[in-house]
Symmetry: C2
Subunit: 340 residues, 2 copies
């Protein structure tokens, strides 16, 4: 066992879009697992859009990331020491180890992983993003056969799960993604009914026209991952009794503004009343009690290949910040993972 480990800390709060100098790589002493804890050698680290929000010093659904501390995040790897009955050395575990090569956590806060699957699946399709999609649909979507669902960032781990689960319930799934390659994946690999390239339709007006073409019966469920012009295009297409589930708004995380973001509240209020829309904020932590139900339902589907997923693996712990920036710009296709 090495006596030190590596970690990334937040060196300062980003001013708008984050840059290299906002992070610092450190070598620190290896932690000792306390009674009831396990020590894990991380093999796969998760990068998620929510991490950007936590870098600002503002009240949100989680406390802000502290400066000079290990960047928070999920990770998976090999148990190399265990002081808990729940795990033994050689097991695979998921936990909130953060941006670090090693970590010690109470076994009760970690999840034992199925060795038949790559540990990386615990970060995406069978982890927080997949569960977010499942929980949001279960709790708020009121899906009915024949309805139309639209979702952006649709090759990503949340969006691709949303579309596939909706289709399994008999809905028409329309995916929005950036560029022809991702759009091809949406229809070919994930089986979406239609795909719209948001890079080819930069304004809300253009998005509206493009979406209208592939949503001839309007949109019943809009699963919000992005904000921006995609939302601007989807809003006027919402059907009577439509549901908007707000899961994220990556287009606005670094303080960006655009014509959709500036739409006056009065206009939305009128639309919500006239169409009797439901607008619902979603955070997966509200639904954790149902994680077991999700795992029981979706794990077999993943193993049998009935739910497809994509991972973008960036090689090397040193690549964490760069892979994070790339993800914020939509440079990833599927779940963004870093392999140590």
């Amino acid at each position: 066992m090495t006596e030190t480990m590596k970690r990334w800390v937040l060196a300062r709060r980003p001013n708008g879009f984050p840059v290299d100098a906002d992070f610092r790589l450190e070598e620190v002493p290896m932690p000792e697992p306390a009674e009831g804890e396990i020590l894990v050698a991380v093999s796969h680290l998760s990068l998620d859009p929510y991490m950007r929000g936590r870098m600002d010093d503002v009240a949100s659904y989680t406390a802000p990331q502290e400066l000079d501390r290990t960047m928070g995040g999920g990770a998976a790897g090999l148990v190399i020491a265990s002081r808990s009955d729940k795990f033994k050395e050689g097991d695979l575990a998921f936990g909130m180890f953060g941006w670090a090569t090693h970590g010690a956590l109470p076994a009760s806060e970690c999840r034992k992983l199925d060795p038949a699957l790559s540990p990386s699946t615990s970060l995406g399709v069978l982890g927080m993003p997949g569960f977010t999609a499942w929980a949001g649909l279960e709790a708020y979507a009121r899906m009915k056969e024949g309805e139309t669902l639209a979702v952006a960032a649709a090759t990503g781990p949340v969006g691709s799960m949303v579309g596939q689960l909706a289709q399994r319930k008999g809905l028409r799934a329309v995916g929005i993604a950036g560029g022809p390659e991702k759009c091809g994946l949406l229809t070919d690999r994930f089986g979406f009914d239609a795909a719209v390239d948001h890079r080819a339709h930069g304004s809300a007006k253009e998005m509206r026209a493009a979406l209208a073409e592939v949503c001839p019966d309007g949109i019943d469920i809009y699963f919000e991952n992005v904000g921006g012009p995609v939302l601007g295009g989807a809003l006027p297409l919402m059907n009577l009794h439509g549901r908007i589930i707000i899961c994220g708004m990556i287009a606005w995380y670094s303080g960006e503004s655009d014509e959709t973001g500036a739409i006056p509240l009065q206009k939305l209020w009128r639309l919500a009343l006239v169409k009797r829309l439901t607008v619902q904020g979603l955070l997966q932590t509200d639904h954790v009690a149902r994680f077991r139900d999700f795992a029981a339902e979706v794990t077999p589907l993943v193993k049998e290949g009935k739910i497809a997923y994509l991972e973008d693996v960036s090689e090397g712990f040193e690549t964490m910040p760069a892979a994070f920036f790339s993800m914020l710009k939509g440079g990833n296709t599927g779940k963004q993972v870093v392999k140590v």
Copy 2:
């Protein structure tokens, strides 16, 4: 039986706030009831905020009011001729007779009224407004004992019912109304836990401070009747998992704008996500299948005096437009009714 009747028609579409010249009083032939219909001599006419919305030529949840036709609306009165088994002469009936002294409608579209109650109650506390309040809370409020509900236009027929029903479920009810007299009624007559005078707090910032004082635990349910600065004050006080039920926005019906109406969508989206709010548009027609449940529950409470209500009665059919303008400006205290 007279051979003519009177009616008000919409002479032209209002430009902003409506004026006298937008309406025209006409004398027209008395209708003959067809087979299955009843003829009613109207005694009480309803005036409701939604009528303003219908005067514009824009898509809304109902078709726009047609020009030169009888203004639409609910009314109640005496059956003076019946060609239906459901009603006999001398019965009391409610129906959508519009702004007219008489009307013929299919009996199946009319409701027989309890002679122990004034027909005016069918327009307010036991009619569409009371049902709106009941249905909105039943379907969307997820009320829990000890929570705080805030509602504006709170002496009105929707707001006063909302507050009283919430209190019956063990919630704290905070009412917002214009002027000290209405606020006194809220606490004294309707039993609200607290009242806030929106005329004494004209900006969203002032409303926020005034609401914060009487909502020390924040707001769990905001029942939206008004929009404007009241909404602007309530939004930042919404608790985690708060519910906003959008029933109306009288402050904005005639095209008014203000700082709250101009709040950028991006800010609301972020608030909805961080607080996991539910924002829900409400229209009572979606819930009509439950009108019987409402009547069965609330009629006894009204008869026993356990649900209080107020009516503002304007005397004379000729006063319809003036009473309507007054209501739009908040000149009424309770349900605005016109007595023929």
